[in-house]
């Protein structure tokens, strides 16, 4: 897993968001060593050298193991492909609005190269107090021993801030992204936290739709997750979403309502929060229970 010692590259570094968050990441202590914007090679952003291609960046900075991607949807496919083909282990796709066909292809292709994608449409990853590879507002996070995995960016900040004000903190927060098809699943990240020595409890922030929360619940039931899990799922007040023809029902993707998700997590043994400001209390009590 990438962390504070990882060398990081920024794709789309000269863009508005790319440049802004490069500065933020550097200030947070992240080792941002290179940026890429085709046609802007030779420039520099916040002291970070800019290259025309990932190939150029990697040949100068062979230690890069993570790329954070701020490239508009129409160019995100090529940018991520460049990153994967350069052998960069983690490509964090911040970009929102990437066509499903593109992300689905990239996710499968990355596996053929032994690479991982986080996102798209995600806020990235943060190891509070040490490094962030993403766009999280630093103010929301304090270091601690709670692992956080979330489908929603802003909900991540909200939850982390609540945890911070309660006096606890976060070992690592991972925003897996809100799209239907994403590179790293909630369960995979829960499994990472399960084996992560810096983490004592796991918070998952879910949303309506899909089966990611149900899959975590199944893993808890199967005894694969022994650390306490606290869950919040957004969307109780949300209207029923669009359904995918008959296929949606046949695939059993159903509606994945917040209620169903929370129920399956609760019956698997997770502590479920009805509001984000309930999280600290539940984390605290589940940690006490384990001890």
């Amino acid at each position: 897993m990438i962390g504070e010692r990882s060398h990081v590259m920024i794709q789309g570094i000269t863009g508005r968001e790319g440049a802004f968050h490069t500065k933020q990441m550097l200030e947070y202590g992240t080792k941002v060593v290179a940026g890429v914007t085709p046609g802007r090679g030779g420039a520099s952003v916040e002291g970070v050298p800019v290259y025309n291609s990932v190939r150029d960046a990697v040949s100068k900075h062979p230690q890069i193991e993570c790329s954070v991607l701020f490239v508009p949807p129409a160019f995100a496919f090529d940018a991520a492909l460049e990153s994967i083909d350069a052998g960069i282990r983690w490509t964090i796709m911040i970009t929102e609005g990437v066509p499903i066909r593109d992300s689905m292809w990239l996710i499968n292709y990355a596996k053929s190269k032994g690479c991982k994608i986080l996102g798209p449409n995600c806020p990235g990853m943060i190891v509070p107090g040490k490094a962030k590879m993403g766009i999280m507002p630093s103010i929301a996070f304090s270091p601690g021993r709670v692992g956080l995995v979330s489908r929603s960016g802003t909900l991540t900040y909200e939850a982390a801030f609540t945890i911070k004000r309660s006096g606890m903190g976060i070992s690592r927060a991972i925003g897996i992204g809100g799209d239907p098809i994403i590179g790293s699943s909630m369960l995979e990240m829960v499994q990472f936290f399960e084996s992560d020595q810096a983490t004592d409890a796991i918070v998952i922030l879910g949303e309506i739709g899909g089966r990611m929360e149900e899959n975590v619940a199944a893993a808890i039931s199967a005894g694969q997750v022994r650390k306490p899990v606290v869950a919040y799922v957004a969307g109780f007040a949300a209207p029923q979403g669009k359904r995918m023809g008959h296929a949606g029902a046949i695939m059993d993707e159903g509606q994945g309502t917040a209620k169903e998700k929370l129920e399956s997590l609760r019956s698997a043994g997770a502590n479920v929060a009805e509001r984000t400001d309930d999280l600290p209390r539940l984390i605290g009590s589940s940690l006490n229970k384990k001890r």
């Binding site: 968001e17 292809w105 103010i139 960016g153 802003t154 029902a249 695939m251």
Partner: protein, 372 residues
Amino acid sequence: MRLFEHEAKSILREYGVPVPNGLTYSLGGELNLGSLRSPFYVKAQVPVGGRGKAGGILLARTEDEVIAHIKRISGLMIGGHPVSSILIEESHVIEKEFYLSIVVDRTLECYTLIAGSEGGIDVEQSSRMSPETILKVPISPLREIRDFDISAISMHLGVAPALLKPIVHALWGAMVSMDAELVEVNPLILQGQRLVALDSKIQIDDNALFRQAAISSLPPRGRSAEEAAAFSQGLNYVGLDGEIGIIGNGAGLTMATMDLVKSNGGRPANFLDLGGGALSESFKRGVLFLMALDRVKAILINIFGGITRCDEVARGIAAAVAEKGYKKPVVVRLLGTNEPEGRAILEAAGIGAFSEPAEASSRAIALAGGRT
């Protein structure tokens, strides 16, 4: 974006799927059945299922019957949708009904081909009651349809591979090139030595509309005129019937804000997510859009800035509030990236900002005349 039946069929016809001969009648226009042969099906075009049970599909034997049916159907509301146009098609003798679709499989992260040996409107029920009638064939996006995929479906449906092959390839072609999330034909009927798609659904990935010019130039469609208006302003909006206008950044936070309002006894008027680095212009548009809605009594804006910057948000809100005709109270919760700048801008515009979502929510409900 969900296509109407007639749009989906015209795409599938192009890709080589046989569909009934037919024509699309625009409400209020001239009817000319041309060379269409009787009997006809007269079918309401609405972006939801359940038309048949709602009386939106009628059989006609004569032109007069067609005209009568059009009249009846035109006035229907089906699942809350007015009928947008009417498809008139030749009817077919059905020997056997199948179900066939390709869908994006969220769990396996690939495409999945679904074939049902009992097609028709009850396919969901037969898939539940008799799961063995359904075959699912996952297809990696890295590969193409191969003959053994066709064979599997052919065995399952008891239809010759030679008949199925062009249909499956057509669905696949449409799925991939049109950036669809779903391409469905149901029922796919066997008539003699020919397969015909009597009904069809296509759902296009909204994220891909930028490169699907033919689709994105179709008229917008939504649950209501309100949502259509929001769509045309580029707003990620869903209408609800409460009195608290909701704006958040990020779907998760926006939903959590709605949940909070609801659990505090208020009723959300809408879902409006201005996430992902939205600029002040979007916020201005969003606030003005909600202000213009009669049912909205107060607006609650909940922002935790990451890629979205608080100063941009504040500038947009301030600009909206500065517009002529500003009447409704706006409550803002602001935290995160560039928060101090954002607070300063709101302050200058006379708008107070909260840090706690619970406080902001209670304040909005109170201002809307609610119980809190």
